[in-house]
């Protein structure tokens, strides 16, 4: 019931107060009654819930989170590599 789906605004119909959005390839209509009309533009990412735009997703913020996770992964990969090198250095059976 509370699940909402990230979608991209592809068109705004000001007359009927609806946005046409793309939800992973599916085109749907969503009412703009719950948002400031000036705030929503073509190209924005929004959450859609039971036929209404709920909010605009802060894309800078989403990018920032994804960047942080990528960095964590890179640090972990580096840690893993160092661990492997260390294990290799300490390997008693080298050449066995």
């Amino acid at each position: 019931m509370c699940l909402s789906i990230p979608s991209k605004v592809v068109k705004i119909d000001s007359e009927s107060n609806i946005a046409i959005v793309d939800t992973m390839g599916v085109t749907r209509k969503a009412g703009l009654e719950l948002v400031e009309k000036e705030d929503i533009k073509v190209g924005d990412y929004v959450l859609i819930h039971i036929g209404f735009v709920m909010n605009k997703i802060d894309d800078e913020d989403a990018l920032e989170s994804l960047k942080v996770y990528k960095e964590i992964l890179e640090i972990m990969d580096e840690d893993e590599r160092q661990k492997l090198v260390l294990e290799d250095d300490n390997c008693e059976n080298r050449g066995a």
């Binding site: 509370c2 990230p6 719950l34 964590i72």
Partner: protein, 375 residues
């Protein structure tokens, strides 16, 4: 033009490597926990994510999940479902509702069974369709049986507004909108579930703002982290909770910053406040009566309120659950679905005895669906 792609908003927050790295980080930092964490994920959407991605299996034993009451279909007591059935059986009436509501058993039958018996009962994709159906059927009464937490309430308010503005006179509303904070407070005041941290709901908070949970850290000294519904969001939220507990803090924090602010969607809040007000009493399945935990139509719009207009045909006696069903105990955080004697045998998603098995957000449904993960 943003570099963000739509698929990043899905895949980026479900990335298996990120899930593994966060789980490892949680395991490392959880070694410093001063006591085990019993985290209530209030919302059924989170329960679903936790089970679907097998998060309990990725986390140390010192972190456990207590599934909360945040499933609007699950908490609906049987007498309210009987209301919907009584309304649907009125002459010349079309009854509309959302989601899984039509499959939940009332005292005798469900709305789906009544529909099969010939009554005009229709599930909606969007409440806005109620306007269209009312206009297309001017000689019929159309009743919208409105359900949901704070997430879904402004949409009902928008339909009420449009009904008034468009002078539609045959559309009525039976309001069952419920509120998260009073229910969570009732569980904490009871104390039996021994919860010491919360993952706050995602989309309730988009509307209401994270500020609605501030009483939890203030009154009960429990951390609250509002998280998104994706598995990476949930794990990041847990990491933030672990850090709070290790640092002996109990704060309200937002992990889901791409969509949630402290203030929430003020346009939606104003719309709700214009048409709806807190109702003094509402009985929750399992939890019982909680004052001011639900909404009703404001008295000035009583001419739209199905509960008032058709009150004489609506049964009001509280009706208990099936005696074998422990849905109520699960909703209070006092039992897991596996502890129920009829789980997966007499009670399955196709033949549900209780609401927790019906709704895709219900804990029993999530356990049944992802049972392979548990094995």
């Amino acid at each position: 033009m943003s570099e963000l792609q739509l698929k990043d908003l899905y895949d980026g927050f479900r990335n298996p490597d990120t899930i593994r790295s966060l789980a490892k980080q949680i395991a490392d930092e959880a070694k410093n926990l001063k006591m085990p964490l019993r985290i209530m994920e209030v919302c059924g959407g989170h329960t679903h994510t936790i089970m679907k991605y097998g998060l309990p299996q990725l986390l140390p034993d010192t972190i456990s999940f207590i599934h909360g009451p945040g499933c609007p279909v699950c908490i609906m007591p049987k007498e309210r479902i009987d209301h919907a059935i009584a309304l649907a059986k009125m002459e010349n009436t079309i009854l509309l509702t959302l989601g899984d509501m039509i499959r939940v058993p009332g005292s005798k039958t469900s709305l789906a069974q009544e529909r099969a018996a010939g009554y005009d009962i229709r599930p909606l994709y969007t409440p806005m369709d109620a306007l269209k159906i009312a206009k297309e059927n001017p000689d019929k009464r159309v009743v919208f049986f409105a359900i949901g937490f704070e997430t879904t309430t402004p949409m009902t308010a928008a339909v009420i507004k449009a009904t008034i503005e468009q002078n539609i006179t045959n559309l009525f509303f039976h309001i069952n909108h419920v509120l998260v904070p009073p229910a969570v407070d009732a569980i904490m005041a009871d104390g039996k579930a021994q919860i010491n941290a919360f993952i706050g709901p995602s989309h309730v908070s988009v509307i209401s703002g994270a500020k609605i949970y501030q009483p939890l850290p203030d009154k009960y000294k429990t951390p609250v982290v509002v998280s998104g519904f994706e598995p990476v969001d949930v794990l990041q939220g847990i990491l933030m909770i672990v850090r709070q507990q290790v640092q002996e803090r109990a704060d309200l924090e937002i992990e889901y910053t791409r969509s949630v602010t402290m203030e929430g969607n003020t346009i939606a809040q104003k719309l709700i406040d214009t048409y709806l007000q807190p109702r003094s009493h509402f009985r929750w399945r399992g939890i019982g009566d909680i004052p001011d935990s639900a909404l009703e139509i404001r008295p000035e719009f009583a001419y739209l309120d199905a509960e008032k207009i058709f009150g004489d045909i609506l049964p009001n006696e509280p009706i208990d659950d099936h005696k074998l069903c422990i849905c109520g105990t699960i909703l209070k955080g006092l039992a897991k679905p596996m502890e129920c004697k009829v789980f997966g045998t007499a009670c399955t998603p196709n033949t549900p005895l209780g609401s927790c098995m019906v709704s895709s957000e219900g804990a029993c449904n999530a356990y049944y669906r992802y049972a392979g993960v548990l094995a």
